[in-house]
């Protein structure tokens, strides 16, 4: 008997090889379809409402200033204005506050049609150099802003750093200055790890074309929060960057005065500049999209559920009706 078993080529039984693994066999019955739709609808609408109310409670003030800040004589040729270092670029805007802004109030600048996500732009940086003082020569991706005329490496190198945004805002209300706090606007991880505390700006914006803001060479990169914010490249050509925080409330119907140093050249490429003041809630700033999406998806699901129920009533199909089998409908000849 043993001998026989040894020679036997009979396959050994296993659930896997006999393809008999226990399985759940879901069948998408109308019940399931309707139930799923109702469940999704029932879950999504409340979530959506929650998110939407949160978003609704956010006060957001947007003020576009790029055009308004060009003196009328230059309106035909704003570039000659922005590129002339001798003209004073100060510009004052007054903005009405429709609703009370509760601290903390966040100050953003918004750029449009600015391709921070262009491949050439994104690539043109050296994370090693930013982090490590020894890697200051690591500029191979920074072209064309890698070395100055003396062939010394620029720190921070690359197009991104070079084009650092340099408009500044001063806000006052009722004649009283409101301080804008510039600390803590960058992500902590950037300050801690990506920007070195012993790396200081060097040869930055020294010669040739100046792309944007200059940096204080006595402050290490890890404390240059504007740079950090700028260098976390945006996903889309329209983006906001955090400029600072205001820690005092601004009452409704107040008028705030913003003194803008309009330095940054967006006129060349037709970009827009906007100043944004916004409060936040648990979902962040003004963000109607999430709430609306949840509510509409929930609504659509309920609608589909109703449709399916109607179909179920008017065009029922008995489950497992053999007359639906194709060979019963058109017999194989």
């Amino acid at each position: 008997m043993d001998q026989k078993n040894k020679n036997s080529k009979k396959p050994v039984y296993s659930k896997f090889s006999q393809q008999e693994l226990p399985a759940w066999k879901p069948i998408l019955t109308p019940g399931w379809v309707i139930a799923s739709y109702i469940t999704i609808g029932a879950l999504f609408i409340p979530i959506g409402l929650l998110a939407w109310t949160a978003s609704d409670s956010v006060v957001e003030i947007v003020d576009r200033y790029d055009e308004a800040c060009v003196p009328d004589d230059f309106s035909k040729n704003p570039q000659s204005y922005i590129q002339n270092p001798n003209i004073k670029k100060t510009c004052t805007r007054s903005i009405k506050v429709p609703k009370k802004l509760v601290a903390p109030i966040f100050v953003y600048y918004q750029l449009e049609n600015f391709y921070q996500n262009h491949r050439r732009f994104v690539k043109s940086r050296s994370d090693k150099q930013l982090r490590d003082v020894k890697a200051e020569n690591d500029t191979k991706f920074c072209l064309p802003v890698a070395y100055d005329y003396d062939n010394k490496p620029i720190v921070p190198c690359g197009l991104i750093a070079w084009s650092l945004f340099n408009d500044t805002y001063k806000i006052s209300t009722r004649g009283k200055d409101i301080s804008i706090e510039k600390k803590g606007i960058a992500w902590k991880s950037d300050a801690k790890a990506k920007f070195g505390s012993n790396v200081y700006p060097k040869n930055f914006q020294k010669d040739g074309l100046i792309g944007g803001a200059t940096l204080d060479e006595s402050i290490p990169l890890s404390e240059q929060e504007d740079l950090m914010v700028w260098m976390r490249t945006a996903a889309l050509p329209t983006f906001r960057k955090l400029y600072g925080k205001i820690n005092t409330d601004i009452e409704a119907h107040d008028t705030i005065k913003v003194e803008i140093q309009n330095n940054y050249n967006t006129y060349k490429f037709g970009g827009r500049k906007k100043l944004v003041l916004s409060t936040t809630t648990w979902i962040g700033g003004k963000n109607d999209f999430v709430g609306m999406a949840y509510i509409s998806v929930g609504g659509i699901c309920l609608f589909m559920a109703i449709n399916f129920i109607l179909l179920y009533v008017f065009r029922p199909r008995r489950l497992g009706d053999p007359s639906y089998l194709s060979w019963n409908r058109h017999p194989i000849t």
Partner: protein, 1222 residues
């Protein structure tokens, strides 16, 4: 019994398989060991003299069938890999990604490619390793070699040319040997060549007389011969050479050569001299490369991939145009005009920008073509074939201890799309076992057995007949008859004992069987030209008329119970004349003289010819007998009528003179003999008839039934005669009387008449015209019926000779059109070449997926010609199996192979392939949408590693699990509802419609994922007001994408096992684990800390719930609506059986031939009352293709049963299962 003659005579081109091969090779696409041109010169072998042979530097006897060795593995293996277009494509992309135009770092493409290559190379290495091990076992098996007057056992690989070896009984020859001596008298030995050509009959080899004595080692060591022979070549049946022994030159031929791979039978041992070794042996030189087949699905896949490539180019073109338009000096912050690094964005040269952008974007969008697709498919198919098909207990045949074997893993899903099956008859549908089953004597029918068909008929009438296993059934090979009324002399009490006596005597005397062995009923064995004859004689023995000896003039019969019960006496009959059987006469007669001088002519033959020659009168008996004949025929039995005629000495003498004259005539002897026979074969008295069951393989009718319900059309291609073929077609339920039968046969009187005139040109022309007319007539009629409303099924029967003309290019299309409108086609008397031609006709002409199944060497052609070749294993030789793609032990396992494994494989592969497209398209499209937002610069959306691991880790495993485990309905339901198979034939699951739908969903989902992810990117997303960067957004988008794509897979599943959940959950988890680690470790990446940043926002969670649900809502809606309004068949079946628990362990039960209630019902339907059958089932003798060939080529090769060599070549039936090689 095929082909022994050929090898014995060394390539008699008329009748040997060499002829078969030559004719096959001439058709160019079938290769059966092409005969290579011989190397010039000859080799001289000094026997028993290693030193002398050393100079010639012959190759050793070690063989290697491996593809690679340690050094060549990498270069050769890689070369093989890069011969695939897909891999080459990815290599190009990888190279591109090293250039500055690439938006992604090289790892993005290199990692997946190397992983894919690694997996493929590991598989190659594994397979080669197995080959190496196989080689090692062969090389290290031992053989006795003569050394110092003693037999020393040394491994095969050490064997050298010129060595003298001893091979014992059942041992394999280690090299090509010259037979010197054998322990058998006359220096004869028997060899079995099953490994070479699949023939199991023994072949005889005879040593030269001069060398007979060298049996003992002492004597053999004195042997100092010199062999001069041809250079190694691959012709199995030829050999020329000389043996120079004691200054005498003796010619040697193939008759003295023993080939490696064959083994020794019925001989204690032989002594031989090694001539060819190792790779120079004939069998190794014959090793054929089976042309690798690709499945239809894969070819379709190539088209889809080409389309995808087109889409890719379009996307690149759009992007490149955009890029060329976008580049502009005005974006000063990009400093585009400073060509510091490259010309990529130089606004002054927009054409260069355009061209370089194309390359950039190709690199960026390259994942649109799924890199891991091929390797995943390969893996899935490999596991499907090795773990599922090879291990299926339903396809394990316990009698022969043979499991199913998938010899290639390329064609699993092809099994799910087969529309035409071409089947061999003998050995495939039938067991080639004739059993005496029933008989009718003097109008009384005997035999209580029921055939499978009759059982079905009985069930229809509500009777439940179980196959009786009565103890009194006398069963032996060829005899399966159970009726006490005839056994043990009980026939004496029957109404007509005299008739019974005549019946038995006719069986015992009128035949050409040779007895062999000891003359006792138990030990004596009958050697017959056809198994029918053996069955009849065996029947006579069991009835008490034991034929035990034959001399040229006498037949000795031991008769029992003739005079009184229990009395046994030896009686001799003098055989005066034998009027042999041939296909025109359809009968066989013997004139014999009893001991008391009584002269009797016994005749047996087809009912039609016998009835014509009966004496008038006794119409009642004739009528009853005819009815019984029809009954037998309907039951699928082969019938013969038995008759006798008492002759007066005068009649006989006068006739005998004419007979002798005819026999000695030199011209037209055959015809004259036939004419003379007519003179005496008349006024016969009908005795009765016999019904022999051509034992079908188990479960064949129900298997065919099931397959035809699945929409598969079955064609039988056989070397047998028309009658036999029709008979089997009836027995297999391929043909029934409700069908319109078109018969195109060359066996008509008109053709015979032309043939008798002997003008070859005229014959050819005449047959061509006849065939043409017949074809056109049938075709018209067929069209009429098909377009009519009767719904009558059609069948076509055509014989080989007509087929030869019908396959003519002019008639081919008519033949094809006619045969495609028939539900069953039977081609009889076809040659192996024609089998292949017919297969190819349907494959190429109708563009349908074909499957050929056969068991013998003559089926090799059609097995290779069809899309899928199936060999019957475990029975005869290996040739068919060696050429096949799948080997199964029984025809009935086709049900499991096709309806279960094939269908599942097809479904699964379709799912896998479409899922691959879907996931990669979705991924690439999100990337594509992003291009529009980046100034067409080709900036990547995702991190390099996300992209490279997307295919190989985050979405790889679940799809493989689905490819292995997904089942729409379980195995028993697959067989219960064979119609489900139709969807595979119609290719319902992978066509352009399916791909198009998928593409739409892909677009939809990518739009949702991309737009939802970026929608909130401008606003601050934490209460701390901080803003997310591009890498944060893309990480969030990628998270949503991975979840969506994995959940989408779950939605595609019919079954969800634990492994599904583990793999899907695991893949999503793998992504999170990866990103948790990745975003911590790589500080210099944009992705540093992204996931932690994201997780501090509520936004991520809201998005991760929202996006997958919205993205999959479309699919959900589609699936719900589709199921509701346009349910697939399998969905209905799922619903019907939704409450039934899965039968676990069903495979443990022996699967017999039990019919399910559904099948029984089908049988009942099939057997509803209908027109009375006119089919009486005459069939006799199966000459096989070989003699057909002989007649076709004008060489007569009549079968002489008492041929001595044939007798020797009868293979003793071995009791033990065949021992496999080594």
């Amino acid at each position: 019994m095929k082909g022994w003659r050929g090898s014995r005579q060394g390539g008699d081109s008329a009748s040997s398989p060499v002829a078969v091969e030559r004719s096959l090779t001439s058709s160019s696409s079938i290769r059966l060991g092409r005969v290579q041109p011989q190397a010039p010169g000859h080799r001289t072998v000094f026997c028993n003299d290693r030193d002398a042979n050393h100079l010639a530097k012959y190759k050793g006897n070690a063989v290697s069938t491996t593809k690679y060795n340690v050094i060549t593995f990498l270069p050769k293996g890689l070369y093989e890999q890069f011969r695939r277009v897909a891999n080459l494509y990815f290599l190009t992309i990888s190279c591109l990604s090293f250039t500055p135009v690439s938006p992604v770092s090289p790892i993005t493409n290199v990692i997946p490619l190397s992983l894919v290559l690694f997996v493929s190379l590991v598989k190659e290495a594994f397979e080669d390793w197995k080959r190496l091990q196989n080689d090692m076992t062969i090389n290290n098996s031992c053989v006795d070699v003569l050394q110092e007057q003693r037999w020393e056992s040394i491994p095969w690989k050490k064997l050298q040319v010129g060595d003298i070896v001893r091979v014992k009984q059942d041992g394999f020859f280690p090299a090509d040997l010259l037979l010197l001596a054998s322990t058998n008298p006359d220096g004869v030995c028997y060899t079995e060549t099953a490994n070479l050509d699949g023939e199991t009959n023994l072949k005889i080899r005879k040593a030269l007389e001069k060398t007979w004595d060298y049996v003992a080692p002492e004597k053999a060591s004195e042997f100092k011969g010199e062999i001069q022979c041809e250079q190694p070549n691959n012709s199995l049946y030829t050999f020329t050479g000389n043996l120079i022994l004691q200054k005498q030159t003796i010619p040697i031929g193939p008759n003295q050569i023993l080939l490696r791979g064959c083994n020794l039978r019925n001989t204690e041992y032989i002594v031989g001299a090694v001539i060819f070794t190792g790779h120079e042996t004939k069998v190794m030189m014959n090793a054929m490369n089976v042309p690798s087949k690709r499945s239809t699905l894969e070819r379709k896949l190539d088209k889809v991939i080409a389309t995808l490539f087109g889409v890719l180019l379009c996307m690149c073109l759009i992007g490149a145009i955009g890029s060329a338009v976008f580049v502009n000096k005005k974006y000063h912050y990009l400093e585009l005009w400073i060509s510091g690094d490259s010309q990529q964005f130089n606004p002054r040269n927009r054409f260069v920008v355009f061209v370089l952008s194309i390359f950039t974007l190709i690199t960026l969008y390259s994942p649109i073509i799924p890199i891991s697709l091929y390797v995943s498919i390969e893996m899935i198919k490999f596991i499907q074939s090795t773990k599922f098909i090879n291990n299926d207990l339903h396809m394990y045949h316990s009698e022969t201890n043979t499991p199913a074997l998938a010899r290639t893993s390329n064609l699993n899903e092809e099994l799910g799309q087969v529309e035409y099956i071409f089947s061999d008859k003998t050995g495939t549908l039938t067991r080639n076992l004739m059993e005496f089953f029933k008989c009718s004597i003097g109008g009384e029918t005997y035999g209580t057995g029921v055939t499978e068909i009759e059982m079905g008929a009985a069930r229809r009438n509500g009777l439940n007949i179980k196959e009786k296993t009565a103890s009194n059934t006398a069963r032996e090979k060829g005899f399966n008859f159970d009726d006490a009324r005839l056994m043990h002399g009980a026939w004496r009490n029957e109404p007509n004992p005299d008739m019974c006596k005549e019946f038995f005597r006719c069986l015992a005397i009128c035949h050409t069987v040779l007895p062999e062995g000891e003359e006792t009923p138990e030990k004596l064995r009958y050697q017959a030209a056809s198994p029918d004859e053996a069955a009849l004689v065996t029947a006579a023995k069991n009835f008490g008329f034991f034929f035990y000896r034959r001399t040229p003039t006498m037949i000795y019969v031991r008769e029992s119970h003739v005079e009184k019960i229990g009395k046994v006496q030896d009686v001799t009959y003098e055989i005066l004349n034998v009027l042999e059987f041939n296909s025109t006469r359809k009968r066989q007669s013997v004139v014999c003289r009893y001991g008391d001088g009584r002269l009797v002519l016994y005749c047996k033959g087809a009912d039609t010819v016998i009835y014509e020659r009966l004496a008038s009168g006794n119409d009642e008996l004739k009528k009853i007998s005819r009815e019984q004949l029809e009954q037998y025929g309907e039951a699928g039995l082969r019938t013969l009528c038995l008759a006798y005629r008492n002759l007066s000495p005068e009649t006989y003498e006068s006739w005998n003179e004419k007979f002798i004259q005819a026999k000695s005539s030199l011209r037209d002897r055959e015809r004259k003999l036939d004419e003379v026979a007519e003179l005496i074969e008349k006024d016969l008295t009908l005795i009765g008839c016999t019904a022999i069951e051509d034992k079908l393989q188990e479960g064949v009718p129900s298997c065919i039934e099931t397959l035809s319900r699945a929409g598969i059309k079955i064609w039988v291609l056989t070397g047998d005669k028309l009658e036999t073929a029709i008979n089997i077609a009836y027995a297999c339920k391929l043909i029934n009387n409700d069908m319109k039968q078109f018969v195109i046969s060359s066996e008509t009187d008109a053709i015979r008449e032309v043939e008798s005139r002997g003008d070859q040109v005229e014959i050819a022309q005449f047959i061509r015209e006849t065939v043409k007319n017949e074809l056109q007539k049938c075709h018209e009629e067929a069209q009429h019926i098909v377009h009519g409303s009767t719904g009558q099924k059609l069948s076509l029967l055509i014989d080989g000779k007509c087929l030869m003309y019908a396959l003519d290019p002019n008639l081919r299309s008519t033949l094809l059109s006619l045969s495609l409108s028939c539900s069953s086609v039977v081609c009889c008397r076809v040659s192996p070449l024609q089998k292949a031609q017919v297969t190819r006709l349907v494959r190429k002409g109708a563009n349908k997926i074909t499957l050929s199944i056969g068991d013998g060497a003559n089926d090799v052609g059609m097995i290779q010609a069809a899309h899928v070749g199936v060999g019957i294993s475990g029975m005869e030789g290996m040739q068919a199996v060696m050429a096949s793609d799948f080997a199964i032990a029984q025809f009935r396992f086709l049900t499991d192979l096709l309806l279960v494994h094939g269908r599942w494989s097809y479904l699964r592969l379709c799912k896998v392939v479409s899922y691959f497209f879907y996931k990669n398209l979705t991924f690439t499209l999100t990337q594509f949408w992003y291009t529009f937002q980046t100034g067409y610069s080709g900036q990547r959306f995702y991190d390099d590693w996300f992209q490279s691991l997307y295919n190989v880790i985050f979405t790889a495993l679940p799809v493989i699990i689905v490819g292995l485990l997904d089942k729409d309905v379980n195995a028993s339901l697959s067989k219960k509802y064979p119609q489900l198979y139709k969807q595979g034939i119609d290719n319902a699951f992978f066509n352009w419609k399916v791909v198009g739908t998928l593409a739409c969903f892909s677009v939809y989902q990518s739009v949702i994922v991309y737009n939802f992810a970026i929608a909130s990117s401008t606003t601050g997303l934490t209460s701390a007001g901080k803003i997310l960067g591009v890498w944060d957004i893309s990480t969030a988008a990628f998270t949503c994408l991975v979840i969506t794509v994995n959940l989408r897979l779950l939605m595609m599943c019919n079954t969800v096992t634990r492994w599904h959940s583990i793999s899907v959950g695991g893949s999503i988890l793998a992504w999170f684990i990866f990103i948790f680690i990745y975003s911590l470790v790589f500080v210099n990446k944009g992705t540093y800390f992204t996931i932690y940043v994201l997780m501090s926002t509520a936004y991520l969670y809201l998005l991760a719930i929202l996006v997958p649900i919205v993205a999959l809502l479309g699919d959900f809606l589609y699936q719900g609506a589709q199921r509701w309004f346009y349910p697939y068949d399998y969905q209905i079946v799922q619903e019907i059986h939704r409450h039934e628990p899965e039968s676990i362990g069903a495979g443990l039960l022996e699967v017999g031939n039990q019919l399910t209630p559904e099948e029984e019902r089908r049988y009942a339907f099939a057997l509803l009352p209908r027109e009375r059958s006119k089919h009486t089932g005459f069939a006799f003798d199966s000459p096989g293709y070989e003699s057909f060939f002989a007649t076709q080529q004008g060489v007569s090769a009549p079968q002489k049963p008492w041929d001595v060599i044939r007798r020797a070549s009868m293979k003793p039936k071995s009791k033990s299962p065949r021992t496999s090689r080594h």
